[in-house]
């Protein structure tokens, strides 16, 4: 009976987490657009604009290219599924979501990689030139960013003794003096570069470009219309929400709900929203200050992130 109640409340907490990120992801994207607009001196679209766009897209027609196969309609569902499951198992609002015991960093990283691979296959499916170009560039950037992501989070897990995310957060909560350690700061720097690469923001990729030759991510989804475009956009927005809040929670886990009471969950939601909004504003300001890098300058940036994460691991081992 107690087990049932426990898992029921865990399930509800997980559902809450998924809904918060599903709504919050587009809001984060809108927030970043608003910050960029204000920095340019414009009023800009309201923060809820991406949600409005999604609602409108659901009412539009669905189009499939002539040479496309079952992969084209399947890929948005895979992207959504990997994003939702990754959000469901990551400790964002509470420290023990439903499958928290298997919330391993490798699971999250590879779920996100699966989503990227699905998007790349969707780009190749219609048999167009730009789809292939987007797929090639996106996979290259992913291949160079993923090692940095993995090694940076491994630096954190060496310090905590486990690669289980709730375990890492619990040990950070128990040892607040770790937060300013050199290993953590290097890992934070590496993770920031990786998060910008994985979410496709300037200086890696310009999400609002119209020039196909400068596109990385947009080029893969040029063929999608209507509800499928809505699924892809929502999945991508949830990835943004997941990555930003994961970075926030890994380095500053205070405020996360450790029990399943309504008050703790409400507080956890508010705190994670604030932390994530802070990260989003920081990334938006980086976007305002930078220009998009040439494609063949990106490996230097991502290699720099990788070197930082390796240094984080080495300093973590040396200062043990």
């Amino acid at each position: 009976m107690i087990a049932n109640v426990d898992s029921l409340s865990q399930g509800l907490a997980t559902l809450l987490q998924v809904i918060v990120v599903a709504l919050g992801g587009p809001l984060l994207v809108g927030l970043m657009a608003k910050v960029k607009a204000r920095a340019e001196g414009r009023v800009g679209a309201p923060i809820s604009q991406p949600l409005r766009d999604l609602r409108k897209l659901l009412a539009k027609e669905r189009l499939h290219a002539r040479h496309a196969s079952v992969v084209l309609p399947l890929a948005p569902m895979v992207i959504m599924a990997t994003s939702v499951v990754a959000v469901a198992i990551t400790p964002l609002v509470s420290t023990h979501p439903l499958l928290g015991s298997s919330a391993d960093i490798l699971v999250i990283v590879y779920l996100l990689l699966t989503g990227s691979a699905a998007a790349a296959l969707a780009g190749l499916d219609p048999g167009t030139a730009f789809g292939g170009m987007g797929a090639s560039r996106a996979m290259t950037i992913g291949a160079l960013a993923e090692p940095a992501l993995l090694v940076a989070v491994i630096a954190l897990s060496i310090q905590s003794g486990t690669s289980n995310l709730p375990g890492i957060m619990a040990s950070t909560l128990a040892n607040p003096q770790w937060v300013l350690g050199p290993s953590r700061l290097l890992a934070l720097g590496a993770l920031l570069i990786v998060v910008i690469a994985e979410t496709g923001r300037i200086p890696v990729d310009n999400p609002s470009t119209h020039l196909e030759l400068t596109m990385v991510h947009e080029a893969m989804i040029l063929e999608y219309a209507g509800p499928e475009l809505a699924l892809v956009s929502l999945g991508e927005a949830m990835r943004v929400g997941l990555l930003f809040s994961l970075v926030a929670n890994l380095f500053l886990p205070w405020g996360i709900a450790t029990h399943d009471t309504a008050l703790a969950l409400a507080l956890g939601t508010v705190v994670v929203a604030l932390k994530t909004a802070f990260v989003a504003v920081a990334v938006a300001l980086i976007e305002v200050r930078s220009a998009k890098l040439r494609l063949f300058r990106l490996p230097e940036l991502l290699a720099g992130g990788f070197v930082m994460s390796v240094l984080a691991v080495v300093t973590g081992l040396v200062t043990r």
Binding site: V35, A37, R38, A39, E40, G41, R42, V43, G44, A45, P46, Q49, R52, D53, R55, K56, K60, E61, R62, L63, T209, H210, L211, E212, M215, E218, L222, E223, Y224, A225, G226, L229, L285, V288, R289
Partner: protein, 154 residues
Amino acid sequence: MFRALWRRPLTEPSSERRATVTGVNLRGSLQLRHVDVGSCNGCEVEVTSALAPHYDAGRFGIRLVASPRHADGLLVTGVVTHNMEGPLRQTLAALPRPSVIVACGDCAVNGGIFVGAQGVSATLDQIVEVDVSIPGCPPHPRDIVAALRTLGGR
């Protein structure tokens, strides 16, 4: 940069919205794909101004997008030339229904000063049914924003 964030934006205050075009319900979000079928770029400069800080069409949910598949309609500038008629038809075919067509500038609306010229194949309304026309050579950004707001609904 931080000063810009706190300062008041340069945008002029929004005016009264005109009634929405019947049959179109885009629920506050309008994404258009711009096609230049043969213009002098005067209208493009005005469209860019309409999206720029002073007139800021973006605050009403209006955006230009790269692919017609992502768009609710086309924003056409210029008179339809022989070379661009084919690509225009391709772009029209790539739009998901329901879609709207906006003719921006005198050339797109009725051919302007180029009616009957060599190189011109037709006017826009001879190829596709136009939902909103924005007259002017070039049209004022305020008029562009007002006309687009009748489609977007905000």
